[in-house]
């Protein structure tokens, strides 16, 4: 099975036998791969009935839960890694959820689309319409993304919250890295990947 680029990246970070919680696990690809390859004790939360059905067909530990209702039911320090891919921008309280992720897990991995990408800037700044770039294909009236941010915004939040940025990867739309992106990430990256630790 070929994993989406960001998921392949996350897989590399996770130790064998680790305990992983995947927030907004979708169709369970990451967990299925972690279970098969790394004997991970993983759980995924999702609220979409279709996604849950697909997870069941893969034998993934999927739990029906809406992230916007919070994740207070999980105990402190219960996981090695809490993962949230491409969902930060769609939740009601991103800051609260990030705090919760680092309460439950030793570390967390967060990926999100970068709204600072030059296409976003060009479409709004030059053409005057809400950006609909390749990496954010929804229109303003039907987007689930209510809290879009740039990598700069995200890092500012991490600074305010004293989250430790252990690793950052910035990629283009096919989830590839390139020297030009590393040079000017907030302008060139379509997606950002952050591995965070608790305040030291």
């Amino acid at each position: 099975m070929t994993l989406r680029g960001d998921l392949a990246l996350i897989t590399k970070l996770i130790n064998a036998d680790a305990r992983v919680l995947d927030l907004g696990c979708g169709t369970g690809d990451l967990l299925a791969s972690l279970q098969a390859e790394k004997n991970v004790n993983g759980y995924g939360l999702d609220k979409d009935p279709t996604n849950i059905q697909v997870c069941l067909s893969k034998g993934v530990n999927v739990i029906e839960q809406d992230l916007d209702a919070g994740i207070a039911n999980f105990a402190d320090d219960n996981f090695d890694m809490v993962v949230m891919t491409d969902a930060l921008q769609a939740v009601r309280d991103p800051r609260g959820l990030l705090r919760e992720m680092l309460r439950i897990g030793e570390e967390c991995v967060v990926t999100f689309p970068n709204f600072g990408h030059w296409r976003c800037r060009a479409q709004l700044g030059l053409r005057g319409h809400m950006p609909v770039p390749k990496h954010l294909p929804h229109h303003w009236h039907n987007t689930p993304n209510i809290h879009l941010c740039t990598t700069q915004d995200f890092e500012r939040l991490c600074h305010e919250e004293n989250f430790r940025i252990i690793q950052r990867r910035v990629v283009n739309t096919p989830y590839r890295e390139h020297w030009s992106i590393t040079l000017a990430p907030n302008l060139m990256a379509s997606h950002a990947f952050y591995r965070l630790g608790r305040p030291s």
């Binding site: 849950i52 067909s57 530990n61 999927v62 739990i63 039911n73």
Partner: protein, 383 residues
């Protein structure tokens, strides 16, 4: 499609007579007992496809198919058990048993106490979920089943499935608890107590010895069923089904108006007294109230699950307020903390607690997918 194509067809109950003395949790001993059960499907050669069905408060062994061609209704879970259904009898060998203390053929209050030669009645010992699990395990021994592929139950049946995973961790690969709870809430116990009071305050109850006078506490038992029935439905579900529709009478003619919902409940209450025993109802509701596997681990449900090795599926329904989704979430949270494999879903349905008996598409799909996946994995492991 004719009904035979989607049903297990004609089935016959079988009997298991245990001659090994059974010590119950309360210390009393039954020297012998009988369990009546049915099976659907075929046990495979390595006996790896057995699936146990645990029934709820008013359930019994007849879960699927018909006893006779002209039966008005099939078994109580025919919506879910049959060829290609959620519990696929082409794949699984399904065992469905009437619990000890029941009133459908297994030893219970209506049986003769061999020591006295008289009907047990109210003297039948108090049984709890653990006792049922022990007797079901004895039946499994009798059938040559070492390990169940899954133990499945709704409501009180889900409690038995959970207890199985704790008491016999090596004897099941999966536990499915549907519309269940790790223990009853105060509100839930309260409803059971009202039902019990309805029965025991019936003037024909005679302290449980109604049969000696050839009477039956029909009014009390019927009332208990009516109370239960209301709590198994949701307000919206009742609204959709009955609204304020009038069955008979006329508002202009005075008070003599019977609403459809009244007629329905009265019918349900009356019908129940024809096939259910009042002493069994008292016994079953007490077993429900007392269930709490965490009692043995000082109230810590996470520790209670520690020894379990099976996978879990926990299903609940959006409008079930008797066994709400929050109760199922408590089970899930404890299982996650205990590092057990668990999947859960909250099924949208307007039918309240009764949903678990109905062919709701998302529900049956989820159940079928989980169970089918077990066999796929099993096959993968043995290759």
């Amino acid at each position: 499609m004719n009904s035979a194509a989607v049903s297990v067809g004609i089935v016959s109950p079988q009997r298991f007579h245990s001659v090994a003395p059974l010590t119950l949790q309360n210390g009393s001993v039954l020297d012998t007992y009988e369990l009546v059960y049915e099976t659907y499907g075929t046990l495979n050669t390595d006996k790896s496809n057995a699936l146990l069905i645990c029934h709820a408060l008013s359930g019994h062994h007849h879960a699927a198919g018909l006893h006779q061609e002209d039966d008005a209704k099939p078994g109580w879970w025919d919506a879910c058990i049959g060829p290609n259904k959620a519990i696929d009898t082409n794949a699984f060998f399904v065992v469905s048993v009437n619990n000890l203390g029941g009133c459908h053929g297994s030893t219970g209050p209506r049986s003769i106490n061999p020591n006295t030669g008289k009907t047990y009645g109210p003297d039948f010992p108090h049984v709890v979920v653990k006792d049922w699990v022990n007797t079901q395990a004895a039946l499994a021994d009798h059938l040559g089943i070492d390990v169940f592929a899954a133990v499945v139950g709704g409501s009180l049946g889900g409690m038995q499935a959970l207890q199985w995973s704790i008491d016999y961790p090596d004897r099941l690969r999966a536990c499915v608890a549907i519309a269940s709870a790790a223990k009853l809430s105060a509100q839930n116990i309260a409803f059971n107590e009202i039902a019990r009071q309805a029965i025991s305050s019936d003037q024909d109850f005679n302290e449980g010895r109604y049969f000696e006078e050839e009477k039956n506490p029909d009014r009390g038992l019927g009332l208990a069923r009516m109370i239960g029935h209301v709590t198994y439905l949701s307000a919206d579900g009742m609204g959709t089904k009955f609204g304020r529709e009038v069955k008979s009478g006329d508002f202009d003619a005075g008070y003599d108006v019977e609403f459809q919902v009244e007629s329905y409940l009265n019918y349900q209450g009356r019908a129940f007294t024809q096939y259910f025993d009042a002493n069994t109802y008292l016994l079953m509701t007490k077993a429900l109230d007392h269930f709490d596997p965490a009692r043995e681990t000082k109230g810590d449900l996470v520790s209670a699950f520690q020894k379990a090795t099976c996978k879990y599926l926990v299903l609940s329904f959006s409008t079930d307020w008797r066994f709400s989704a929050a109760r199922s979430q408590e089970i899930v949270d404890a299982l996650v903390r205990a590092k057990k494999n668990v999947a859960s879903a909250v099924i949208e349905s307007e039918h309240g607690h009764d949903s678990f008996l109905l062919p709701i598409e998302r529900y049956t799909n989820a159940l079928k997918t989980f169970l089918d996946q077990l066999l796929i994995m099993q096959k993968g492991e043995s290759e």
